[in-house]
C-alpha cells in the first residue's frame, strides 16, 4: 500500500513536470503562427499582450509579417534593467526608457547607421537633416527615439507646465492673469481667507508633488518660475551668442521662489503634508478639490483634472498660467522636444537585424503613425472636404474609452515606439499627428466648464496662454535628455545635489519667521561642499555644444 502510494505520487509529479514543459513549448509555437517573430522588452508597465490580438496589432502584423513577443517590467525598471544586463541575454528589440544609457554602456545595441543607409526609407524621411541628433558620443545611432518632431509646423492645444490655479479662484477675482508669482500668491492667500474650508476640509493655497523621481514638480520651481522652458536639470540661457548651461540648484531664483513658498507657509496655507506624501496620496489630495494651486507638468495630474472637470461643482479643476517671478522674462514653452535619450533599438542578440530593422522602419512610416494616433478611416476618424481629419461624436466617445484604446485597439503597445511628435503635422501640412493637437477634435472634446474659461480669457486653446517658444532652442532642446554616464563622478555628483536639495527645500519652505536666511546659508554651506560640480556642468555644456554642432551650429 505504502509503495503504491509512493509510485503514484512519483508518477503524478512526473506528469506535472512533463505537462508543464510541454505547455510552455506549445505556448511558444502558438505565437509564431507562420509569421516572423521578434521578442521585445518595453520598459513601460502594461498588461500582457491580449492573446486574441488587437485591432492595431493585427493590422501591423498583416503589413509587416512580423509578430512581437512582448515583455514588460514588473516593479522597478532599474533593477530589471540591471538584471537584463547582468544576465547578458537580450531580447531582439529593447526599449528601456531612461535606462537605455546603461544598456548602451554594456554594449547591448547594434549600430543602425548602415541599416538606415540601406533600408531606412521612413527613417530618413522623419529624421531628415536632424538625424545627427540621434548619434551617441561615439558617432553611431543606436536607437529610434520615442518622440521626434517631424517637419517645422507645430500644432499645439495643451500647455506642458506652469502654475496651475483652480478655476474658482480665477472666477472670483474676475479672470486675472497675475503679473508675477508674488501677486498670484497674494491672490491665493486672499481666497483662502475668504473660503477657509472646502467641503469640510481646510483649503490649502499651495502644494507640491515630492514623491520619488516626480519630485521635479517641487525641485524645478526656480527653473519654471524664472521663465525657462522645461530643460530639466539646469537653466539654459543665451549668453554672448551661445547657449550656456546655468544650474539653478542654488541660484537667486531658487532663493526667491522658496521664499515665496515660505510666505504661504507662514500664512498657514502651505500643505506641508505634501513633503511626506506619495504620488497616489498627492492625486487623492488634489481630487478632494481643496488645493488651490501648484506647479507641475500637465500629464502628471491630467486624470484628476478631467475627473474634477466632469464633477459638480465644476470649477475645481486647474488652469495653467504663464506666471513667472518679478524681474524675469516670461517665456515658458519650449520647442517640440526631440526625446533622443529614450527609444527602441536592436540588440546584439538579434539573429535577424535586417528584418527587425525593416519592421522598425515600417513603424516610423506616416501610414503607421496615422493608424497609431488616429485609427482607421471610417471606424475611427473621417476626412472632411478640406482634407482635415475629424472624429464624429461616437468616434470621440470610442476614443475617450482608454481601456478600449489601450487593450482592444492596442495603442498602448505601439504608441511610444518610433513616435512622431504628437504636436507635429503630417506631410500634408495641416493634420496634427495626435488627435489631441487637432483643433477640430480639441473643440469637440471641450466641456462647457472649459469653454467658459477660454471665452473669459479670449483664448482659443490652453496653449495660447503661453508665449511661443524661442525656436533657436530647437538645436539642442531639451537639456534633460542628455544622460550622464552611469556611475561616473558626474552621476554621483548630481545624485548628491538632488539629495541635499530634497532635504533643504522643505526646510526652507517651512522656515520659521525670520529664519529663512539662516536656513538658506546652511543649505549653501552644505551645497558648496559637494565635489565635482564643475565637471557636471561642463559635461552638460559639452554635450549641448555637440548637439548644436550636429544640428548645424550657431
Amino acid at each position: 500500500m505504502k509503495k503504491q502510494l509512493k509510485i503514484i505520487s512519483m508518477l503524478t509529479l512526473l506528469t506535472i513536470i512533463v505537462a508543464g514543459s510541454l505547455y510552455a513549448r506549445g505556448d511558444q509555437d502558438a505565437t509564431a503562427g507562420g509569421l516572423k517573430q521578434y521578442t521585445i522588452f518595453l520598459g513601460r508597465p502594461a498588461e500582457d499582450y491580449p492573446k486574441e490580438g488587437t485591432i492595431l496589432g493585427n493590422w501591423i502584423e498583416e503589413k509587416t509579417g512580423v509578430r512581437l513577443k512582448w515583455e514588460f517590467p514588473v516593479g522597478d525598471l532599474r533593477q530589471k534593467v540591471g538584471l537584463i544586463i547582468a544576465g547578458g541575454d537580450y531580447p531582439d528589440l529593447i526599449d528601456c526608457r531612461n535606462e537605455n544609457q546603461a544598456l548602451y554602456d554594456a554594449g547591448a545595441f547594434i549600430p543602425l547607421d548602415d541599416l538606415i543607409e540601406k533600408y531606412g526609407v521612413n527613417a530618413k524621411k522623419l529624421y531628415g537633416k536632424r538625424i545627427d541628433m540621434l548619434r551617441k558620443d561615439d558617432g553611431h545611432i543606436y536607437w529610434f527615439p520615442q518622440l521626434f518632431p517631424y517637419g517645422d509646423k507645430v500644432q499645439r492645444t495643451y500647455e506642458s507646465l506652469g502654475l496651475y490655479v483652480q478655476k474658482r479662484v480665477l472666477k472670483e477675482f474676475g479672470w486675472p492673469i497675475p503679473k508675477n508669482l508674488n501677486e498670484a500668491f497674494d491672490m491665493l492667500i486672499e481666497y483662502c481667507k475668504r473660503h477657509p474650508e472646502t467641503d469640510g476640509n481646510k483649503t490649502y493655497a499651495y502644494t507640491a508633488l515630492t514623491a520619488g523621481w516626480r519630485e521635479f514638480a517641487l525641485t524645478n520651481a526656480p527653473h519654471v518660475f524664472s521663465g525657462h522652458p522645461n530643460d530639466g536639470v539646469a537653466d539654459v540661457d543665451w549668453v554672448g551668442g551661445k547657449w550656456k548651461v546655468l544650474p539653478y540648484w542654488a541660484n537667486e531664483a531658487a532663493y526667491k521662489v522658496y521664499k515665496l513658498y515660505n510666505k504661504i507657509h507662514l500664512a498657514g496655507l502651505y500643505d506641508t503634508e505634501s513633503f511626506v506624501m506619495d504620488y497616489d496620496q498627492y492625486l487623492a489630495k488634489l481630487a478632494s478639490g481643496s488645493i488651490l494651486a501648484f506647479c507641475d507638468q500637465h500629464w502628471q495630474f491630467e486624470r484628476v483634472r478631467n475627473l474634477l472637470r466632469d464633477q459638480e461643482p465644476k470649477d475645481r479643476w486647474w488652469v495653467g498660467l504663464p506666471v513667472v517671478m518679478e524681474g524675469y522674462k516670461e517665456n515658458l514653452e519650449g520647442p517640440l522636444d526631440a526625446q533622443v535619450s529614450e527609444g527602441v533599438g536592436i540588440t546584439v542578440d538579434c539573429k535577424d537585424p535586417v528584418g527587425a530593422f525593416k519592421y522598425l522602419d515600417f513603424l516610423l512610416s506616416e501610414e503607421c503613425q496615422i493608424a497609431k494616433q488616429w485609427g482607421f478611416q471610417g471606424t475611427d476618424f473621417e476626412i472632411d472636404e478640406n482634407g482635415l481629419y475629424y472624429r464624429t461624436p461616437e468616434q470621440i466617445e470610442r476614443w475617450d474609452d482608454t481601456k478600449f484604446i489601450d487593450y482592444k485597439f492596442g495603442q498602448r503597445y505601439w504608441i511610444e515606439i518610433c513616435g512622431w511628435h504628437h504636436s507635429s503635422c503630417y506631410s500634408d501640412g495641416k493634420n496634427a499627428v495626435s488627435h489631441r493637437s487637432q483643433p477640430a477634435v480639441f473643440y469637440a472634446r471641450l466641456k462647457d466648464t472649459e469653454k467658459e474659461v477660454l471665452d473669459a480669457y479670449g483664448k482659443k486653446t490652453w496653449y495660447d496662454f503661453f508665449n511661443p517658444p524661442d525656436m533657436r532652442r530647437a538645436k539642442y532642446f531639451p537639456l534633460w535628455t542628455i544622460k550622464l554616464p552611469t556611475g561616473g563622478v558626474e552621476d554621483i555628483c548630481l545624485k548628491r545635489i538632488e539629495e541635499i536639495r530634497r532635504k533643504y527645500i522643505p526646510l526652507l519652505i517651512m522656515a520659521e519667521p525670520g529664519k529663512y536666511d539662516a536656513v538658506w546659508k546652511e543649505f549653501l554651506d552644505v551645497f558648496n561642499k559637494i565635489p565635482d560640480k564643475e565637471k557636471l556642468v561642463a559635461y552638460y555644456q559639452k554635450n549641448l555644444d555637440d548637439r548644436v554642432e550636429m544640428s548645424g551650429g550657431y
Binding site: R78, G82, A86, G88, E215, V276, T486, I492, K503, P506
Partner: protein
C-alpha cells in the same frame, strides 16, 4: 580497520538519508559559497557582461570611496541605531507579551489575545507602512487623540520630524512583531516543569516572584540564543520598513545600509561599489556574531557554536 568497516556499514545503512541531504548540500554550495567568488568584483571597476579578464582592477579604491562617503557613515549610524532600538524594544515587548499571555488562564480570552497580537506580523510592510502613515498623518487618528485630550494644540507632522524617525521605526516594529516574537518564548515557557511553580507556591511566592525566579530563568537559554543570533544581524536593520516610511525631510536619519547599497550601488549600476559594501557588511556581521558568542561563553551561558 574495524572502525573503518563500521563507518562504511553505517554509510550504506543510511544511504537513503545521505541521498536526501544531497540536494541541500548542493543548494548551500551553489547559493552560499559559489557567489563568494563574486567578491573579486569589489576590487575591480566591474562592467557587466564582459569577461572577467577584461575588467579593470582598481585595488581598494571602492573601499576608500565607501569609507570616505559621509552618506555611508550616516547609513551606518542609522542602521546601528535602529537595529539596537528594534532589538531592545522588540525583545522586551515580546517577553512581556509572552509572560502576560502565559499568566492568563487558558480559554477563549487567551487565544483571542494571542491571535490579535500576532496578526500584524502577517501584514506586508507595504500595507503596514501605509497604516502607519495614515495613523500619524496631520489629520490622522494619533493627532485626533492628542488634540482631543489637549496634549498638543496644533496637529503635528510626525513623519517630518527627523529626531523621531528612529522611534517611529522602533514602535511600528514592536506593534508588528511583538505578538509573533512572543510565540517562541511561550513555547519555552510551556517547557518549564510545573512542579517548580507548585513548589514556589508552597513556599509562599507571589505571582511576580514566580515570574522572576522561575519563568524568566526558564526561558533564559532561548533568550540568549536569540540574542546572539540577533546581534549577528545588527547590520540588517530592515529594508522595506525604512524604504516605505522615509521622505526627504528625514532622510539623514532614515537611510539604512541596505537602502544605501541599493541607491548608490545597484541603482547607479555600480556593482563593484555594492559588492564592496556587501563585503564590509558580511565581515562586520561575522565579527559581531563571534564576539557575542565568545562573551556568552565566557559568562557561562548558552552558545550558538
Amino acid at each position: 580497520m574495524n572502525s573503518k568497516t563500521s563507518f562504511i556499514n553505517r554509510l550504506l545503512n543510511q544511504r537513503l538519508l545521505l541521498l536526501m541531504s544531497v540536494p541541500f548540500v548542493i543548494h548551500i554550495i551553489l547559493f552560499r559559497y559559489v557567489p563568494v567568488f563574486g567578491w573579486v568584483m569589489a576590487f575591480q571597476n566591474y562592467k557587466p557582461n564582459r569577461p572577467m579578464l577584461d575588467q579593470q582592477w582598481v585595488g581598494f579604491e571602492q573601499f576608500t570611496n565607501l569609507f570616505g562617503d559621509y552618506q555611508f557613515l550616516y547609513a551606518l549610524r542609522n542602521t546601528l541605531a535602529m537595529s539596537a532600538i528594534k532589538l531592545v524594544m522588540g525583545t522586551i515587548f515580546a517577553v512581556l507579551v509572552a509572560i502576560m499571555v502565559n499568566e492568563t488562564k487558558r480559554g477563549p480570552f487567551k487565544r483571542t489575545v494571542q491571535t490579535i497580537s500576532y496578526l500584524p506580523h502577517f501584514i506586508s510592510w507595504v500595507v503596514a507602512a501605509n497604516l502607519v502613515l495614515e495613523f500619524l498623518a496631520p489629520n490622522g487618528l494619533f493627532n485626533d487623540i492628542l488634540t482631543g485630550i489637549g496634549i498638543v494644540d496644533e496637529r503635528v507632522l510626525w513623519m517630518g520630524k527627523p529626531e523621531l524617525f528612529w522611534w517611529i521605526i522602533g514602535w511600528s516594529h514592536v506593534w508588528k512583531t511583538c505578538g509573533f516574537g512572543a510565540i517562541i518564548y511561550l513555547a519555552a515557557m510551556t517547557g518549564i516543569d510545573p512542579q517548580l511553580y507548585e513548589a514556589a507556591d508552597m513556599d509562599g511566592a507571589g505571582r511576580l516572584r514566580r515570574i522572576w525566579h522561575i519563568t524568566l530563568p526558564g526561558i533564559k537559554p532561548v533568550f540568549v540564543i536569540l540574542l546572539i543570533m540577533n546581534i549577528g544581524q545588527l547590520l540588517e536593520a530592515g529594508f522595506e520598513q525604512q524604504f516605505l516610511l522615509k521622505n526627504g525631510l528625514v532622510q539623514d536619519y532614515a537611510e539604512v545600509f541596505t537602502i544605501y547599497i541599493l541607491r548608490y550601488g545597484l541603482q547607479m549600476y555600480r556593482y563593484s561599489y555594492a559588492a564592496a559594501a556587501g563585503i564590509f557588511k558580511s565581515v562586520v556581521s561575522i565579527l559581531l556574531l563571534f564576539t557575542a558568542n565568545r562573551i556568552s561563553k565566557k559568562l557561562g551561558e548558552e552558545t550558538l557554536m
